[in-house]
């Protein structure tokens, strides 16, 4: 007689050893292979109920397309497809995401709620300004916060991401030089440790890029900078705190030398999170700096965007800021949308409309929540967390700059992996098996096998300890020569290591019918 088990508590039976276990259908429990939408038999389906339309498009004779071969899915099928895909992603909401330079911090949901209020989300950019006064006031308040936090007199809100902000800043600089008859200045100086966007942006604007050397302690080499600051130099682009996670101690001298040479100081503000509320870039002599709202001010990274990159500007550059901007008048807020009259020096326009309003709402909600006191605490905790990670790992890994504190990022090199056969990449991939996103690897370029860890202020001590314990255990394993754990990593992710060479050699960027059987 068999016992009736229905409804009774069960307990594990037999061996709990499941290494090497394979399901019959190839999936892994909750993580299943998910076909492309093109492989789900939806060629004649739609998941949207629409009213009948008059089929008469006779006025468009000869202008209409014959067919539109795209599949559709019913709502339950679409929901399941995308929810299944979502489960193959790592995210901040799952675990620490220590991607250096990216400031992967918690994204408060109040900000999402606010951005979806009908008065912001359902607002047309060209609606009469008399009907958008609340939006313009929010932009004006955001501008006030950004200017106050940076100690700068002006801000251009419209750039759509950090690199777009860099472009905006350099175009202001170019316009300022041209206005002073200094248009012949064609060189931009960039430290070797800079983000790739810096030289890319400078080249984009037609400047030639010259590198500034770095000192042994990871800072701009002042002597080298001075020797290169000639009459041809339009600007320097320096990240501060820099990409090694260090504050440029000589930053005020850097600014003075730059200005004395007739050049402008562009600061890459990607790392503003380390100093917000404690240091104002305006006090350091900065002329232009973009602020990644998706870093310091917590707007979600969304799998690669959207971001927002407002640029704060010094008095010397303010007049050249691009259209549009908000002005406060007696009869309410106005939007200046074109370079004319008092705004004749504006260098042009960075994009259609007025910038990333949805991000402005989120960033403003975040700033208001923290307040001036909370934002200062953000910088302090971000720096404290990074120094804690550095302190807890320094005996098993090799910090690139062991002396003195770091800012919001702890940078290690790969000297400690010498002789183990494990590379920075292998080590990072093994972190995935322990449930963490890898740190930024092989950047900055000035440090061999770089591992750049940015924990951010929204990690608890408990999560930091969990992370440090995992890294310590991995480091110990690497040194013991357990190389398969690393070379084959990740073992426990939805997919194993992917063949990027194949992808680049035979690029397949879109689904095509003939591949349906593969």
């Amino acid at each position: 007689m068999t016992m009736q088990n229905v409804g009774r508590p069960t307990r594990p039976e037999g061996s709990t050893e499941s290494v090497g276990f394979q399901s019959l259908t190839g999936g892994r429990g909750l993580v299943q292979d998910e076909p492309l939408i093109f492989e789900l038999d939806g060629w004649k389906k739609t998941g949207v109920d629409l009213p009948e339309a008059s089929a008469d498009a006779s006025d468009l004779a000869g202008l209409t397309r014959a067919d539109l071969p795209l599949p559709g899915l019913s709502e339950p099928e679409a929901m399941r497809h995308y929810v299944r895909l979502s489960q193959k992603n790592h995210a901040i909401d799952l675990a620490l995401y220590p991607l250096g330079s990216c400031t992967m911090k918690h994204n408060p949901r109040l900000n999402e709620k606010a951005a979806r209020m009908a008065g912001f989300a359902d607002l047309h950019p060209l609606a009469p300004v008399s009907t958008t006064q609340g939006a313009l006031e929010l932009m004006d308040r955001l501008a006030h916060w950004l200017k106050t936090l940076t100690g700068m007199p002006a801000v251009a809100l419209s750039p759509k991401a950090g690199a777009h902000g860099e472009l905006c800043g350099l175009l202001c600089i170019k316009a300022a030089h041209e206005a002073k008859g200094q248009g012949h200045r064609r060189t931009v100086l960039v430290p070797t440790s800079a983000h790739g966007t810096n030289p890319a942006t400078a080249a984009f604007v037609g400047y030639s890029v010259q590198e500034i050397a770095q000192t042994e302690d990871g800072r701009v080499d002042l002597a080298d900078l001075e020797s290169k600051l000639g009459p041809d130099v339009a600007a320097i682009m320096v990240t501060n705190p820099n990409t090694c996670g260090l504050f440029e101690r000589d930053v005020i001298d850097i600014a003075k030398l730059t200005h004395a040479a007739g050049a402008y100081f562009y600061c890459d503000g990607a790392n503003f999170n380390a100093i917000v509320g404690r240091v104002r870039p305006g006090d350091l002599g900065v002329d232009a700096m973009h602020i990644n709202l998706h870093k310091t001010f917590s707007t979600p990274h969304g799998g690669g965007g959207p971001g927002a990159g407002p640029v704060v500007l010094s008095e010397a550059l303010a007049a050249y800021a691009p259209a549009p901007w908000v002005v406060s008048a007696a009869d309410g807020f106005q939007l200046v949308e074109e370079a004319k009259d008092q705004a004749a020096a504006a260098f042009g326009r960075m994009s259609a409309f007025h910038g990333q309003m949805g991000m402005f709402v989120r960033a403003y909600a975040y700033m208001r929540s923290h307040g001036s006191d909370g934002l200062r605490q953000v910088a302090e905790d971000a720096v404290l967390n990074a120094n804690y990670v550095k302190a807890r790992l320094s005996d098993v890994m090799t910090p690139a700059f062991p002396d003195g504190p770091c800012m919001h990022e702890a940078l290690f090199d790969d000297a400690w992996l010498d002789g183990t056969g494990v590379t920075t990449l292998d080590f990072a991939k093994a972190m995935i098996d322990e449930g963490f996103h890898p740190m930024t690897m092989y950047f900055p370029l000035v440090v061999h096998g770089a591992m750049l860890i940015e924990p951010t202020e929204t990690e608890s001590k408990r999560e930091l300890d969990r992370f440090c314990e995992a890294l310590r255990a991995l480091a110990a394993t690497a040194k013991l020569g357990e190389i398969d754990r690393f070379k084959g990593a990740p073992h426990l992710a939805p997919l194993r290591r992917l063949d990027e060479t194949l992808a680049a050699r035979k690029p397949k960027l879109t689904w095509k019918p003939e591949s349906a059987t593969s």
Binding site: D93, L123, R278, G303, P306, R349, A352, T510
Partner: protein, 444 residues
């Protein structure tokens, strides 16, 4: 503070591990002159209730498009977005992840991007598409610069029907890069005029369809003329729903198609964030800007997706990159993909027909009110001649609760087209809305 997990005890313990007396010691590298002694002069922290209240008050001082009759288009469009879209994009795994640099734990984002690229390629009728740009206007500027790289020529001709913000953006950015930008005079239906301007120095011509005045144009002849002189044709579309009904840019001979994708899956958001669509012929693939997602296999031979051809990009190529773009519009692309998947080709075609039918209804009503419609062939937007300045008329009608479109002069004050009003109807426009507008126009 609710977003900060560390307690004072945690901080003290951690400083002990670090060996620092206090947190100020960690900021020792900051020059003394630049250390702020305390919080800057801004309000202190606030609770969720207080912040939500402040933002609600600001939002309430805007008139949402859905609050009454509303006819603005001109580059941003009010469409209905299924609730499913916003639910999925708010899932933590999509919302709070970043660029899929680690493909093993980012297959969700990567497969979505592959689907997105495939959808964009099919909509535009071209072979390849990238993983999105910031918006349509910056995609347009990037396309012009790509044409320079492909042709090694410096001149770009922008048609007079191109959205003035797109033209200004392209002029600003591509000119800074050293290109010569020729903007043709604003004209309602003069796309063919670009043909006469094409010469052996021309890298590309940029033509919008439907254009800023709503005019739909078959650009096949323009493509032939451009190709005959070795130039590329870039076709711009600001209303992505039109792809459901109209001949695709690829079918008409475009080499590059760029579009604003906001209409599908994304709210108006007062102008951003939006999502730029970028597609081109396969042979031009390696000159594309931005991220590309490609198919490959993993170590066990299973299909997967990665970011690819990154040797074009700034983080590898630095000053030799095809663009400086890094962050793009990932989440907006996801919203686009989900909405497009819900619609399918069948649904988008139906949606496009509804939009066109609404615009025909709008046209008839406006003509019935005694106004001249200037757009000969349209999708869902028309240009109308007003009796006085269009901006004045819009102001008057706002007072009556009707947002009567966009005065062309707001986009381009120097064109001498102050009496041109741009009107748009979508599936969200009701017959009552149209009747209210017609009555108000008649009385104005």
């Amino acid at each position: 503070m609710r977003y900060l997990p560390l307690t004072p005890d945690d901080r003290a313990q951690m400083l002990g591990v670090i060996g620092a007396p206090d947190v100020d010691a960690l900021f020792a590298d900051v020059p003394k002159a630049a250390r702020l002694p305390g919080p800057v002069d801004l309000p202190l922290h606030a609770g969720e209730l207080e912040v939500e209240r402040e933002l609600s008050q600001l939002a309430a001082r805007n008139r949402a498009a859905g609050a009454g009759p509303f006819f603005c288009g001109a580059g941003a469009y009010r469409h209905h977005v299924p609730a499913t879209v916003d639910h999925i994009i708010q899932r933590s795994e999509f919302l709070t992840s970043y660029t899929p640099y680690q493909p093993e734990i980012a297959q969700g984002t990567l497969q979505v991007l592959f689907e997105f690229q495939s959808q964009v390629a099919a909509l535009t009728g071209l072979e390849v598409a990238n993983a999105s740009m910031y918006d349509g206007s910056t995609a347009c500027a990037e396309a012009v610069m790509m044409a320079q790289r492909v042709t090694r020529r410096e001149k770009a001709i922008l048609s007079g029907g191109l959205h003035p913000h797109y033209a200004a953006t392209t002029q600003t950015i591509a000119h800074a890069e050293g290109m010569e930008i020729v903007r043709q005079k604003a004209a309602i239906d003069a796309e063919a005029a670009v043909i006469d301007a094409i010469d052996e120095h021309t890298a590309c011509v940029v033509v919008q369809t439907p254009n800023i005045f709503g005019v739909v144009t078959d650009v096949t002849k323009i493509a032939e003329a451009a190709h005959a002189k070795g130039a590329l044709l870039i076709v711009v579309t600001t209303e992505a729903v039109s792809f459901g009904l109209l001949k695709s840019p690829g079918e008409m001979g475009a080499d590059i198609a760029v579009a604003e994708g906001q209409s599908i899956g994304n709210a108006l958001n007062y102008g951003g964030p939006y999502v730029g669509l970028f597609a081109c012929r396969e042979k031009l693939m390696r000159q594309m800007p931005g991220r590309l997602c490609g198919e490959t296999v993993d170590a066990d031979g299973r299909r997967g997706y990665v970011l690819t051809l990154s040797t074009r990009e700034q983080h590898i190529r630095r000053e030799k990159a095809t663009s400086n773009i890094c962050t793009n519009s990932g989440l907006c692309a996801l919203a686009f993909t989900i909405h497009m998947t819900l619609l399918g080709g069948v649904g988008l075609t139906q949606l496009a027909k509804i939009n066109h039918a609404k615009a025909r209804e709008l046209k008839a009503a406006v003509e019935g009110a005694g106004l001249e419609v200037l757009t000969p062939r349209f999708f869902n937007e028309i240009a109308v001649r007003t009796k006085g300045p269009a901006a004045k008329l819009v102001d008057v009608l706002v007072g009556q609760g009707i947002v009567a479109g966009v005065p062309y002069s707001r986009l381009d004050p120097h064109a001498g087209l102050d009496d041109v009003l741009l009107l748009c109807a979508t599936e969200t426009t009701t017959s009552d809305d149209i009747a209210a507008l017609a009555a108000a126009l008649k009385a104005a």
